[in-house]
Amino acid sequence: MMNEPYGPRPGKILNPTRIMVYGVLIVAAIYYLLPLYIMITTSMKGLPEIRMGNIFALPVEVTFAPWAKAWDSACTGLYCEGLKTGFWNSVLITIPSVIVSIAIASVNGYALSNWKFKGSEVFFTILIFGSFIPFQVMLYPLVIVTRELGIFGSLWGIIFIHTIFGMPILTLLFRNYFASLPEELFKAARVDGAGFWGIFFKIMVPMSVPIFVVAVILQITGIWNDFLFGVVFAGTENFPMTVQLNNIVNSKQGVTEYNVNMAATILTGAVPLIVYFLSGKYFVRGIAAGAVKG
């Protein structure tokens, strides 16, 4: 069906080429899985076992206590409540940031590909250039800007920041996607008298579900894992989960609880991972349509 891959047609039986293909994929998969294997096994070992044992060894005594601790009781400063306190904050930051940044970037991409105006390419180029500026350099100016706007240290502040930093790559994706759609559709709609927004909502958006899914995935990964912006711009009440993760993992004094660290990392990564699993198919189809034509 639609979701089936439709690359070159391979032979059905196992010939040497197929074996080679599977061989390479499996070797590559082992390389990619090795760190995950170490993380999972380590997260199920007790501390003495970690200290003495081989990193590749399976746990002798399987324990889930580190997972419970990471979620529920690891100390992140004065309070020992684990990762869970930041979870909902991360959700609260991620959902509006993803929606706003994608809404704006999709309109940008649409304007840039279908409604070019004088200077639009210049702005686009600057935008691409912007994706190369190290975030840290922009910290002070952005503090000033958000302070002047009166949104520093609030949920709106962090949404604003993520919208800005998502803009270059998202606009690039959307622009290329919309440019790849058949121009006849656009022209026909124009003849019918549809305007800028009419075409966008009635034709472009319905045809672009895949690229929206791609953008959602990219943004969720980026925003969910963000630490620096969350901690500076979101305000104390809204500290995201990565702040807790950092506090659990980066504590310098005292014994490093590697098992808890590993569990905490996997737990923090769970949301983007689930999104990958659930939308894998759309992910590929979406980018296909978006990035094929420059």
Binding site: I55, N108, F117, L127, V137, M167, M262, A291
Partner: protein, 297 residues
């Protein structure tokens, strides 16, 4: 920049312009503004806070006389070139193999992509373990009987950059692979039918027919990968902290260290300005290619 077919008066495109207003404001105020801010304050003696005490090129003079900066630039060039080549080649090969209508494609794809979702604070530790000669792969293989097995990239001054690459590529190639796979999926089935009838070998089809057709996806990937390389920071901090010695220092770390822990904003911004200027110089040919000789539209 001609937009030939469409008329271009101020009001005809008003809606589009209004809709693009957030982008225009963002580019002008934030990206242009921040770049200008960076450049201006790189000429000051700002310490912990930005101040307008101008000192000419003093920060740049110091920058280029600092062995750590010179080393950082060398490192990022090696890392950048190897990372670009490898992520493109490996990403493309994995994508091409996944595109052979293989079984468990979804599983393989997720396996290659998952590192992208995990924070480097801890995956850095895991890589440290694997790479640590007395703890990781080398030790394990020796215990298994290969007494002379040597896998010690991380403690050598000349090899540590490859240790960074191992972990960096592990995290990043999955995404490149997905982009490439997407590009491949966009190639029309008819083309494959046509070349099969002609009897052209598959590998040749990829190089001669498919890759040129993927120009768009390749450019998108190039932008994403190079932006990641220029901003390389987390990985280094998590894995080597710049060591041994200064042999895995990178420019973004130099900028960050000077702006914050060393409270020398002027110096950090001078380094940042040099980085931005380099990006700009590299981007010019791309801009020319994209807009200079427009064939389409």
């Amino acid at each position: 920049m001609a937009t030939d077919a469409r008329p271009n008066t101020l009001f005809r495109n008003l809606n589009a312009k209004l809709a693009a207003l957030p982008m225009i404001l963002c580019t002008m105020l934030i990206f242009v503004g921040c770049s200008l801010w960076t450049i201006i304050y790189s000429f000051t003696s700002s310490k912990a806070l930005p101040v307008e005490k101008f000192v000419g090129f003093a920060q740049y003079e110091r920058l280029f006389n600092t062995s750590r900066w010179v080393q950082s630039v060398e490192n990022i060039m090696i890392y950048g070139i190897v990372a670009l080549i490898f992520s493109f080649v490996v990403g493309f090969i994995l994508a091409a193999f996944l595109d052979q209508k293989i079984r468990f494609e979804n599983t393989f794809r997720t396996i290659f992509l998952y590192p992208f979702a995990l924070s480097f604070i801890v995956t850095g530790v895991v890589w440290q373990w694997i790479l640590d000669p007395s703890l990781g792969l080398q030790e394990t293989m020796r215990n298994l009987g290969w007494e002379n097995f040597t896998f010690d990239l991380i403690s050598g001054k000349d090899t540590v950059i490859y240790a960074l690459l191992m972990a960096g590529l592990w995290q990043g190639t999955g995404f490149v692979m997905v982009l490439m796979l997407a590009g491949l999926r966009g190639i029309d089935d008819d083309i494959w039918k046509a070349v099969r009838i002609e009897g052209i070998p598959k590998w040749k089809t990829y190089i001669v027919v498919v890759i040129p057709m993927m120009r768009g996806v390749l450019i998108t990937t190039l932008v994403i990968v190079s932006a990641g390389i220029v901003k390389l920071y987390d990985l280094v901090v998590a894995l080597t902290n710049g060591g041994p010695g200064l042999s895995s220092e990178v420019p973004a770390k130099y900028v960050y260290d000077f702006m914050f822990s060393r409270a020398n904003i002027g110096q950090g911004l001078a380094a940042s300005t040099v980085m931005l200027a380099t990006v700009f110089i590299i981007l010019i040919p791309w801009i020319y290619l994209e807009y200079g000789n427009k064939g389409k539209k």
